[in-house]
């Protein structure tokens, strides 16, 4: 057990830090959260800079256009970019963390050549068409149909909670290609262009008042069969590849950010006298300890991934997500305690964060589903009927 970084890793960190110090002051101001075209341009601009500096797709394999960095280097990258206040991956989230790695792992040479470079260059944005109104936690019960018609699939149905749908060029879409098969076996993974005739996007407002995600209606949308990734009816397995990436690496920067937020809360509590309240002070102390431990758990999981073949994060990601999503909500409830009545003022940055933290126990598999995964796949408890 060793927490020291190798010389090579320290070099990598130093070079990255120097680059961030040079390039971040040149960045334009961040757009407002509701300005989606502005957000797209901003996020893609950042991606382009990463690309030009050789940091795009750091953790992607080299033959997919990435840098083939080790999980530890990726960890350092996420830690340093967050520390320096660099833009979040934003609109490129699905492309860089879901669709891209899936295509890299499962796509044909032609598919990789078509879709991966534009993601890395910051030319194209992807969104995720997985959930449906009747298929959220029970994702495999999805009903959007794709029927073969010559060289095309003809798709009819609807999707929901589609993040970045308004500005996406492509959608990683799960469709049912065999309604007669058992529910996990009749699903296929398609790449659908968002400007295809028959695609309608209707933004949904979140409880935070912003439009983070959308509903998507698909009315006889035609997608060429050649744009299917993986075999027909094999989409569930392909999807599991995608989700394992999501659960392993999605929160590194956020843990760093939460620890910084705790420091700001302590300063503020000290300044206005609330620090003298032992109940609040102890709560902040406990959270500091918890987020420290979550950072160590991240390093543990990354080290484990580094030792495993292919560096694909394991199921321990569910343990992390469960602990982290609840700690994050606790953090912002504590922030509200520090702020007092000021926590009712939406202009206080922490208040929007408090609202958005409510999604963490729901998105990417609810805490209840994650607990089932932990109980059944890690602890080996029997499946319920």
């Amino acid at each position: 057990m060793d927490l020291t970084y190798t010389e090579e890793e320290q070099d990598f960190r130093a070079r990255l830090r120097a680059w961030l110090a040079k390039v971040l002051p040149e960045l334009p101001a961040a757009p407002s959260p509701d300005d989606w075209p502005g957000r797209r341009a901003y996020d893609l601009g950042w991606q382009r800079r990463l690309y030009e500096a050789g940091y795009a797709g750091l953790h992607w394999p080299v033959d997919a256009g990435g840098r083939g960095a080790t999980p530890t280097q990726h960890l350092i990258f996420l830690e340093e970019t967050e520390r320096a206040g660099a833009p979040y991956v934003g609109a490129n989230f699905v492309g860089l963390l879901h669709a891209g790695p899936t295509i890299a792992a499962e796509g044909t040479a032609a598919q990789r050549a078509r879709w991966l470079p534009p993601v890395l260059r910051g030319d194209e944005v992807w969104c995720q068409g997985f959930s449906e109104p009747d298929a959220g936690s029970d994702l495999a019960s999805l009903r959007t149909r794709a029927v073969r018609d010559g060289d095309d699939y003809v798709i009819t149905g609807s999707k929901i909670w589609t993040s970045h749908a308004e500005v996406a060029d492509w959608c990683e879409l799960l469709v049912r290609t065999d309604p007669a098969a058992p529910k996990h076996r009749g699903i296929s993974w398609l790449a659908m262009p968002m400007d295809a005739p028959g695609v309608t996007v209707r933004p949904l407002r979140t409880l935070a008042g912003s439009t983070e995600f959308a509903e998507m209606f698909l009315d006889e949308v035609r997608v060429p069969v050649t744009d299917r990734v993986g075999a027909e009816n094999d989409g569930w397995r392909v999807t599991m590849v995608t989700l394992s990436f999501e659960r392993g690496t999605a929160f590194v920067g956020e843990v760093v950010a939460c620890r910084r937020t705790l420091g700001e809360l302590a300063r503020r509590a000290k300044a206005d006298g609330r620090w003298d309240d032992p109940v609040l002070r102890r709560r902040l102390g406990r959270l500091y300890g918890e987020f420290g431990a979550l950072w160590r758990l991240t390093q543990w999981n990354v080290s484990e991934a580094e030792r495993s073949a292919g560096g694909v994060p394991g199921i321990g990601g569910s343990v992390f997500k469960l602990a982290y999503s609840h700690a994050r909500q606790e953090l912002y409830d504590t922030a509200a305690e520090v702020l007092g009545a000021e926590s009712l003022d939406l202009e206080q940055g922490w208040v929007l964060d408090r609202l958005s933290s409510l999604s963490y126990t729901i998105a990417a598999g609810t805490s209840q589903i994650q607990r089932n995964i932990v109980a059944e796949r890690i602890l080996g408890l029997p499946k319920g009927r």
Partner: protein, 298 residues
């Protein structure tokens, strides 16, 4: 960075687990509960011979020459097996109190932050005091941790960090063990025509236990690697919680059986309560962490 146990560390842990399974299995545990003998001198010497207490003494002083990470892995196993006795204090006394390193002496400590001292009746020495003070026996909640009330005050703050960390490791082992006990019972016990572990309510109890234990595990291991005071405090805080709440959830999974003397769950819970009061309580850990947080915020 490679934050995973080395092969030697894995082997050490496995070796200690085998040793304790053979020497202090379930029957031995229940026998000591029945007899009320909490410190078995023969076992103590065997632990000494296996290097349990001399683990971190330099080889030049007859020790094994290993570090805190190895000690934490060994103590995790002792916590899993619920080995009774002042393991942490005797380990800390190795090289200071004659016989401690070899396990021929039993050493307790003023680690309960007040007038209570554990295992006083068996102790040859008490860390933080000169000699063994007189004490009045107290009815202890844990059948295998006898307590005495003493009139003198002792100070073992010099050992606080290491004592807290090794106690956290014991808690971690206990927490991981209660997950196993709960999962095994939930897989065997049938109600409504199926194992209770198939019910989501039971599953979620078990999953929560594992999540707490795994977070505590990384906190304990990290603290052992860095030796940082804040990380040690966090490790103790999280391991105490994982052990106490883990035992309570395990008891709940066992249903009525869990409320019996016959089930081992209460032994884990009671020991976890004792350890929560040793070296550094939750309140003390949270205060220390709060001060560190404020310091880091500048």
């Amino acid at each position: 960075m490679d934050f995973q146990p080395t092969e030697d560390q894995r082997d050490l842990r496995a070796g200690v687990r085998d040793l304790l399974a053979g020497r202090y299995g379930r029957d031995a545990l229940r026998a000591s509960v029945d007899s009320g003998v909490s410190v078995d001198r023969a076992l103590w010497r065997e632990l000494g011979e296996a290097g349990f207490f001399a683990l971190r003494l330099p080889e030049s002083e007859g020790g094994v020459g290993l570090g805190l990470p190895e000690a934490v892995l060994v103590f995790e196993e002792a916590g899993r097996a619920l080995v009774p006795g002042p393991l942490v204090a005797t380990h800390l006394a190795a090289g200071v109190v004659p016989g401690a390193a070899a396990g021929t002496a039993v050493v307790s400590a003023f680690d309960l932050g007040g007038p209570l001292v554990a295992h006083l009746g068996d102790a040859d020495a008490v860390l933080g005091a000169s000699g063994v003070p007189a004490g009045e026996p107290v009815r202890s909640v844990d059948p295998l941790t006898p307590l005495h009330r003493v009139a003198v005050a002792g100070d073992c703050s010099a050992h606080r960090e290491e004592g807290a960390l090794l106690t956290a490791a014991l808690q971690l082992g206990s927490a991981l063990r209660t997950v196993e006990l709960a999962v095994r019972y939930a897989g065997e016990r049938e109600q409504f025509g199926q194992p209770i572990g198939a019910f989501q309510a039971v599953k979620h109890l078990c999953a929560r236990m594992l999540v707490r234990a795994e977070v505590a595990r990384t906190a304990v291991y990290a603290a052992a690697v860095t030796g940082d005071a804040g990380e040690v405090a966090a490790a103790k805080l999280l391991a105490d919680e994982a052990a106490v709440r883990g035992a309570r959830d395990c008891l709940q999974v066992h249903g009525g059986m869990g409320f019996t003397w016959e089930a081992d769950v209460h032994l884990h819970l009671k020991r976890a309560w004792v350890r929560s009061e040793q070296w550094r309580t939750a309140a003390q850990a949270e205060e220390l962490l709060a001060q560190e947080l404020l310091g880091s915020a500048g």
